[in-house]
Amino acid sequence: MLRDFLFRLWGLFRRKRAETELDEELRSHLEYEAEKHVKSGLSPEEARRRARIALGGLEQVKEECREARGVSLIESAARDVSYAVRILRARPVFAVVAVLTLALGIGANTAMFSVMDVMLLRALPVKNPQELVEFVRWAPDGSMMTNLPLAVFQHLRENTTVLSGAFAFMADTRVLRAGVESERSTVQEVSGGFFSTLGVNALLGRTIDPNDERPNAEGQVAVLSYPFWSRRFGRDPSVVGATVRVNGAPCTIIGVMPAGFFGVDRSRLPDMWVPLASDTDEVWALGRLKPGVSIPQARAQLEPLFQRALESLRDGMKRWPAHERDAFMAQRLVVNRATTGTSALRWDYWQYSNTLKILLGMTALVLLIACVNLANLLMARSAARSQEIGIRMAIGAGRRRILRQLLTENLVLALLGGVAGLLVAAAGHRLLVTFLTGNLERVSLEFRLNERLLGFSFALSVLTGLLSGVLPALRASRDGFLPAIHGTLQARGTTRLPFARKLLAVQVALSLMLLVGAGLFVRSLRNLATTDLGLARENLVMMGVDPSLSKSIKDKQEFWIQLTQRLATVPGVRSVSIAGDAVFGIGGWSRTIWIRQPDGSERDAQVSDNLVGPGFFETVQIPLLTGREFGWQDQGKSPPVAVVNRTFARRFFAGENPVGKRFGSAGPGSSSQIEIVGVIGDAKYGDLREQPRPMIYLPLFQHLQERPYQVHVRTAGDPAAVIAAMRREIQAMDQDISIDHVRTIKEVIHSLLQHDRMFAVVASVFGLLALLLTSIGIYGVVAYQVTRRTGEIGIRMALGAQRADVLWMVMRETLLVLAAGAILGLPAAVAAAQVLRSLLFGLAPSDPTAIVWAAATLAGAGALAGFLPARRAASLSPMDALRHE
């Protein structure tokens, strides 16, 4: 075995010498043979001729000898590659189109793989990341919850012996104020074990430790992330020890983390870490297994602890409806390995939804189309090259040799495409991560070449090269050399095309699938963007206002009244109101209420609630259906009132007018507490896709707390022009009032549609690409066919065929291909679209408009691509055409 290999290798190194020796050996054979014939009386010429005949084709013998020596495999591969490069350079347009096509196809898939690699496979940059585990809850309805109640986490942490450490964290935002500038920063609240369990140290100062977690720790502390330290403090080391204000409270910066540290969630890089507040409800929790402890062992110990912890919460749940309490108690603990950390992004797009899988499906389709397209181009080209192939076979190249040569050409193309695809992948990766997260600076999901990625790209390139090359190569080498030599290939060339037509039809079908998907996504996005919100989206501005830092404001209620009135005087402002939860903020808080029934009994119900100020519904323009909205009189100790929406009225009062009816929220027996004074229309509040749900609104001034509220302002014209004036008006009341998150409802909706826009954009780009490739494919095959049939067309025209007949004869081919593609593609598209159902809004996966639109676009582009060469055929002069033969 080794000997054999060394022999081959040796042969490779002394290739030149081996070739000379082979020449010499065969030459001396011929001389001996000729000599023998001369001795028997033949003339020298005749003797040499006989000798050559007896030996056979010299090149063939040599090739067989090379093969027998075994060097030929490696050596001829090298020769094939250099030959392939020469061939490709001789046809630069073909090569560039093919490489670009493959680069896009392979690149899109590599980008997807790269995003999944970083999201699902890249390990955390901490000590022994493979020991980390995350804790999630499994609910009896089959859903997973990524958090634990804080008390449950604490119970696990204190009683376990299988973990060497555990920590909890929560993402939040805070207003940070250093000097005069305040800004909203992202924070991660972390328990004391966060940094020590991960095994990371601060770059400057110290990290948060268990002492900082105690409820009465002296003063707030914060640790800065490196990017935030750079951006906000210019990498000033003296910031450690400085005091800033976080949500108004003094807070000491105790440390700065190193550049590469982002915590445990790559998709949410916080500006700073602060200790977990002891009143947090639910937390994300991770732990580190002790060395040698397996996940099942850990679960075996932690599950009973989890159950006991749930049980200890039972007392606090007396007000919960029984079925909810039972569901809560039936939860199970799930322990997942967390080598890669945990990630909101991963849960959102991989576990909870099919987002990435659908994108993957689309990129795979693109690659498939690119493959078929290349196969088509190759097919047309290899028919054009049949002369060359015929000659090579005639001088002794075997069919396998030709096959290998053609496949080598294809592999060279595919590998070039793969290399170019890496560039596409890097760009695609950035684009995709921007789409998925909205902000590249707040994530640690950068594109990085690693062996997995390179391996994937290489394997995909080879697969692509083989997939697109095998059939054309088989067909090209099938005929042998006789037709090429006899010049009969012209006739055979036409019989070869039906197969190209089949491939084209497949390409049309695949493109149709992508275009239908694009049509569905675009129409769904349009539906979402124009859906009736139940409130007016024009000229509505919202901002968070927090007066808690101000020392001059004594009476909060008075402050909000004044603020409302002063803003209403700003030129360009129509009306002003405030609310606890903004329109398209968090969507209201869920709570249980008890409603008085006509027979005097009570029923409980789940509703969403919100606190709103006087004139709120007028400001956001949710129509008042009956009764009244809140006024200034609904405050302090006035009788508790509420406004409900139409769905509430319909669901709980079945057509009766609910005004004057009562409900309560203080547990069983409280149903006479609050009187309904008005009913408003249904409006979407949290999400564009939401179904109407029962909502209650309570007067803000009856429930006023010390906290920021959301000011809603309806302007007469463009809100941008009024925002600065409103800011000035508020600051004029008190410099210390913090204003935060100023945005129009349009901006909010725009960002809510981010995900849908991604699908629409990606699918449209891919669809257009498919359209372009298919048009090129049709054009290429038809144009080639017209060239082949020029003589035939000339004869037909000479025999009296009209231009229209010729045009129709050529167009017929194109139309047949398009029709076959549609027959193949439409059912496939409709079937594939079913997986998109949950992503579509306001239309079914079989939406006729989208399908007709996609089919018409494709038919139009395809017909045009076929028409161009058809017109050329029809405009041939019969004489020229005949001379072509």
């Binding site: 010499e24 054979h29 043979e33 030996l55 013998v61 067989e64 027998a68």
Partner: protein, 110 residues
Amino acid sequence: MADERIDLPQGTLDLLILRTVALGPRHGWAISERIQQISGKVLQVQQGSLYPALHRLERRGWIKARWGASENNRRAKFYELTGSGHKQLEAEADAWRKLTAAVAQVLETT
């Protein structure tokens, strides 16, 4: 001209080459001449297939080649049997004898 020579059965060319060079170093043309002479011109050795076979046997290590001067002082590539070539020749010759004996027996007893 009727040709009564028969083509070589598959795989026997190697055996004949090994046997021929076992008698002493020979170059390619001499090997083909020798095989035809000895077989009484019954066996038809395609000259074109002789050389690939020689190179194959060389790769396997059963014969080795060296350049030397021929009887009329021309440079030629001489092939000779190696140690493992001897063993291979014995094994193949043995197998061939068994095969032909068995075939002959079948033909006679039918």
